[in-house]
C-alpha cells in the first residue's frame, strides 16, 4: 500500500456565530472519542487543540451562522479548503436563534445591547451556511445528536450514505409508546412538523416539542397552525412557536409569516 492510502483523513472544525454546543458534542461522545481520534487526524479544532494544521482538509465540520462580512468571506475560504463540507446544528443549517434579528431593525438591536453601537459590525441577517456556499451534508438540531454526528462521520469515512431519518418527531413518540400529549392533554406541540433526531425528548418530559431539529421533509404547517388555534393559541403565540431555534428555516419562516399577517 502506498503511504497515501494509509494517510488518515484530515478533519477541520470551524465555528461561526453559535454557542459552541454542537462542536462540544464531539467531546461529549466520551465512549467514541478516542476511537474517532484514532481513525482521523484532527487537524484544526481550536476548542480542543492549540496545534492548528493548514488545509486542505478531507472533512470540514462547520458550526454557526453567518452574521458578519468577515465571516461571509471566511466561509468561502473554508469551502475551498474542504473536500467534504458537513454543516452541524441549527445555527449553521437555519441561522439559529440569532436569526430572530431577520424580522427586526438590526441597528436598533445593536443599540439595545451595546454601549458603543458604532463599533459593532454585523450583517442585517443571520443566514445558514448553505446560503453562502454549496454544502455536502446538513446535520440538524439545537443541539445536534451526538449519535447522529458519530454516524455521519463514520458514514463519510466509509463512503456510504448516513442513516439519518427525515421523518417527524411523532414517529419517535410512537416508537417510545408515548401517549400523544397534544391529543390527550391539549398541549401545543411542534412534533408533527419537526424532524426526528432528539428521541422525542420534550413529549417524553411532559411538554410540547419546540422544534430543535427544524422542519421535517414536507411538513404540513398549515394544518398544525389550525390545530394550535383549536387548542386556544393566539396568532401571536403561534408565530412565536415557529420563531424559535430554526426560525429562518423556510417552512417555519413561511408559517410564522402567514400567522403574523393574519
Amino acid at each position: 500500500m502506498s503511504s497515501k492510502a494509509q494517510r488518515k483523513p484530515k478533519i477541520g472544525v470551524f465555528k461561526f456565530a453559535s454557542c459552541d454546543g454542537c462542536q462540544l458534542s464531539l467531546l461529549d461522545a466520551e465512549d467514541e472519542l478516542l476511537a474517532v481520534v484514532g481513525a482521523v487526524e484532527i487537524a484544526y479544532f481550536p476548542e480542543a487543540s492549540r496545534a492548528m494544521a493548514k488545509g486542505p482538509y478531507d472533512i470540514g465540520l462547520v458550526e454557526g451562522s453567518i452574521t458578519t462580512h468577515h465571516d461571509a468571506q471566511r466561509i468561502q475560504d473554508i469551502r475551498r479548503q474542504c473536500k467534504t463540507l458537513i454543516i452541524i446544528g441549527a445555527c449553521a443549517t437555519a441561522g439559529g436563534i440569532q436569526a430572530l434579528r431577520n424580522w427586526q431593525d438590526v441597528d436598533e438591536f445593536v443599540r439595545a445591547v451595546y454601549a458603543t453601537p458604532q463599533y459593532i459590525s454585523t450583517l442585517k441577517l443571520s443566514t445558514p451556511i448553505a446560503e453562502h456556499v454549496p454544502v455536502d451534508f446538513e446535520l440538524r438540531g439545537c443541539p445536534i445528536s451526538k449519535q447522529q454526528l458519530i454516524e455521519l462521520i463514520s458514514a463519510t469515512l466509509a463512503g456510504r450514505k448516513p442513516n439519518i431519518p427525515h421523518y417527524s418527531v411523532c414517529m419517535e413518540c410512537k416508537r417510545k409508546a408515548n401517549v400523544c400529549i397534544s391529543v390527550a392533554r391539549g398541549i401545543a406541540c411542534l412534533g408533527p412538523v419537526t424532524q426526528a433526531g432528539c428521541g422525542a425528548l420534550c413529549p417524553s418530559y411532559d411538554r410540547g416539542c419546540y422544534g430543535c431539529f427544524g422542519p421535517m421533509e414536507s411538513p404540513n404547517t398549515e394544518s398544525l397552525t389550525a390545530q394550535f388555534r383549536i387548542l386556544g393559541q393566539s396568532d401571536v403565540q403561534v408565530t412565536r412557536a415557529f420563531r424559535g431555534f430554526n426560525a429562518w428555516a423556510w417552512e417555519f419562516r413561511k408559517a410564522s409569516e402567514e400567522c403574523e399577517r393574519r
Partner: protein
C-alpha cells in the same frame, strides 16, 4: 535565542477556550506596553431579541448562549423570573436544581481540568497527544465527564440544552429509584475526583500571586449554587437586586471592549478561586480535607492553581450529588404554575466559571420588556488582562514561543467562555 523583550506576543486564535478570542501583548524593551484579550466572536444580540418573548421561554432561549454551561443560564433565568413573578418553589425542586447544577459542574470541570488545562502543564498541544502517553488519565477524565453528563441527561433529557427546567420547577421530575441508578457511578466519581485533587497538586505552578478581589455567592449553610448574597474579600455584601448599583460595564480604550468592573475598585475575579476562598468553611468535609491534604487552603491567589481548586469542586459536586440523591423525596407537583404579571426580577447563580447575573422586566402579559445578562467571562475579562500585564513582565526574558504558550495558559486559568461573553462584548478583529 529570541526573547520576548521588545517583541509582540500574538495569538490570533486562542485554543482550548470556548469561543473565539485572541491575545496581543506588546513589549517595549522588558516592559509590557500593551495587553489585549481580544474577542472576535460575532455578536448574537440575545438581550434585544428576547424582548416580546414570554417569561416561560427565557430558560430555553438563554441556554443557547452557551453550549458548555446551558444549565447556568437556565438557572439564572428561572430564578430571576421567579423573583419577578413572586413564585415560591417546593424544597424538593430546590434540591433537584442543586443536583442538576452538580451535573454541569462535574461535566464542565472535568472537561477543563483534563482536556483543556492539563495539556498546558504537561506540555501537550491537546488531550489527543496527552492520551498517547497518559491513556489511563484521559480515560478516567472521559468517564468522570460522562458521569456529570449522565446527571444532566437523566434530569433534562440531554447534555447540551436540556429541556426539563422550567419557571416554577421542572416539566417532569425523576423518581427516587431513577436517581438511585446514579449512585454507583457517583461513588466512583467521588474517588476519581479525590485522585484528581492529588494528581493536579503534583503539577508545577509558576510563582504568581496577584492581589485579587474575589467575588462569589455566599449562603449561610451551603457551598453556593443558586442562592446567597454576593460577597467579596473587600467587604462587598449585597443582594442580587443591588448588583447593578455596584458593578458597571466600562469601555476600556485600549481594547475597545466592554468590561465589567466594580464601580468602587475596578477589576475582580469570579469562579472557582473566588468560591473556594470565600466559602471554604461550607465545603463538605471530604472536599475540605482533600484540599488541606495537598496543602491548599484559603486564600489561594495563584490563578494557575485554579486547576487544583476545580478538582476540589469536583469532589464537592460529587459529594453534594450523592447527598441530594440520599435526601430526595419527589415534590407534590413538578412545578408551580405561574400566572402572567408585571414585575422585575434579578438573580445570580454560580456557573462553573463564576457568577452569572440575569435581570428581566416583564409586562402584565408576562412578556419580556427588557433583559440584561452579565456572564462570568465578561466579569473576568478585565482581570484576565490585568493578570497578563503582571505575568508577562516576568516572561520578558523568556524565549518568545515559550512565553506565548505561558500567556495562553494564563488565559486558560479562567476557563474563559467567549461564546458567553460575546453577546455584549465589542468585536475586535485582531487579524492582519
Amino acid at each position: 535565542m529570541t526573547t520576548s523583550a521588545g517583541k509582540t506576543i500574538r495569538v490570533d486564535t486562542l485554543a482550548r477556550v470556548e469561543g473565539e478570542g485572541s491575545l496581543y501583548i506588546k513589549y517595549a524593551g522588558e516592559q509590557v506596553a500593551e495587553v489585549k484579550f481580544g474577542i472576535y466572536e460575532p455578536p448574537r444580540l440575545f438581550e434585544a431579541f428576547m424582548r416580546g418573548r414570554h417569561f416561560s421561554e427565557a430558560p430555553d432561549i438563554t441556554s443557547r448562549i452557551c453550549g458548555i454551561c446551558p444549565i447556568a443560564y437556565q438557572m439564572s433565568a428561572i430564578h430571576a423570573m421567579e423573583r419577578a413573578l413572586g413564585i415560591r418553589i417546593d424544597p424538593a425542586v430546590r434540591l433537584l436544581r442543586r443536583l442538576f447544577y452538580c451535573g454541569e459542574w462535574i461535566e464542565s470541570h472535568a472537561l477543563h481540568v483534563y482536556m483543556l488545562h492539563a495539556p498546558d502543564f504537561l506540555g501537550y498541544q491537546d488531550v489527543i497527544g496527552m492520551a498517547k502517553d497518559h491513556r489511563e488519565v484521559v480515560e478516567k477524565a472521559l468517564r468522570l465527564k460522562k458521569i456529570g453528563n449522565s446527571i444532566v441527561q437523566l434530569m433534562g433529557g440531554r447534555e447540551i440544552h436540556p429541556i426539563s427546567a422550567a419557571v416554577g420547577g421542572f416539566h417532569k421530575v425523576p423518581t427516587k429509584s431513577r436517581l438511585r441508578e446514579l449512585v454507583e457511578d457517583l461513588q466512583w466519581a467521588l474517588e476519581a475526583s479525590l485522585e484528581t485533587v492529588r494528581w493536579t497538586a503534583t503539577l508545577e505552578f509558576p510563582n504568581f500571586e496577584p492581589d485579587y478581589e474575589f467575588v462569589a455567592l455566599r449562603h449561610p449553610e451551603e457551598y453556593p449554587f443558586n442562592e446567597g448574597r454576593l460577597v467579596s474579600n473587600r467587604g462587598l455584601d449585597i443582594d442580587a437586586e443591588a448588583y447593578e448599583d455596584h458593578f458597571a460595564e466600562v469601555h476600556a480604550k485600549h481594547s475597545n471592549a466592554l468590561q465589567s468592573v466594580l464601580r468602587a475598585r475596578g477589576s475582580y475575579l469570579v469562579g472557582p478561586l473566588a468560591r473556594f476562598n470565600l466559602n471554604f468553611d461550607k465545603l463538605p468535609e471530604e472536599a475540605r480535607q482533600a484540599a488541606l491534604d495537598v496543602g491548599l487552603k484559603p486564600p489561594v491567589r495563584n490563578p494557575f492553581k485554579s486547576i487544583v481548586v476545580r478538582a476540589v469542586e469536583l469532589v464537592f459536586a460529587c459529594a453534594e450529588a450523592l447527598r441530594v440523591i440520599r435526601e430526595y423525596e419527589p415534590p407534590a407537583a413538578a412545578r408551580v404554575e405561574a400566572a402572567n404579571c408585571a414585575g422585575t426580577g434579578q438573580a445570580i447563580t454560580e456557573a462553573p466559571r463564576g457568577i452569572l447575573y440575569h435581570r428581566y422586566a416583564l409586562d402584565e402579559n408576562g412578556l419580556i420588556v427588557t433583559a440584561k445578562i452579565v456572564p462570568p467571562t465578561s466579569q473576568n475579562q478585565k482581570r484576565i488582562e490585568d493578570d497578563l500585564r503582571e505575568y508577562a513582565t516576568q516572561l520578558a526574558t523568556w524565549p518568545l514561543e515559550e512565553a506565548t504558550w505561558k500567556c495562553e495558559q494564563a488565559v486558560r486559568n479562567y476557563d474563559p467562555c467567549i461564546s458567553c461573553a460575546t453577546h455584549f462584548l465589542k468585536v475586535v478583529i485582531e487579524r492582519e
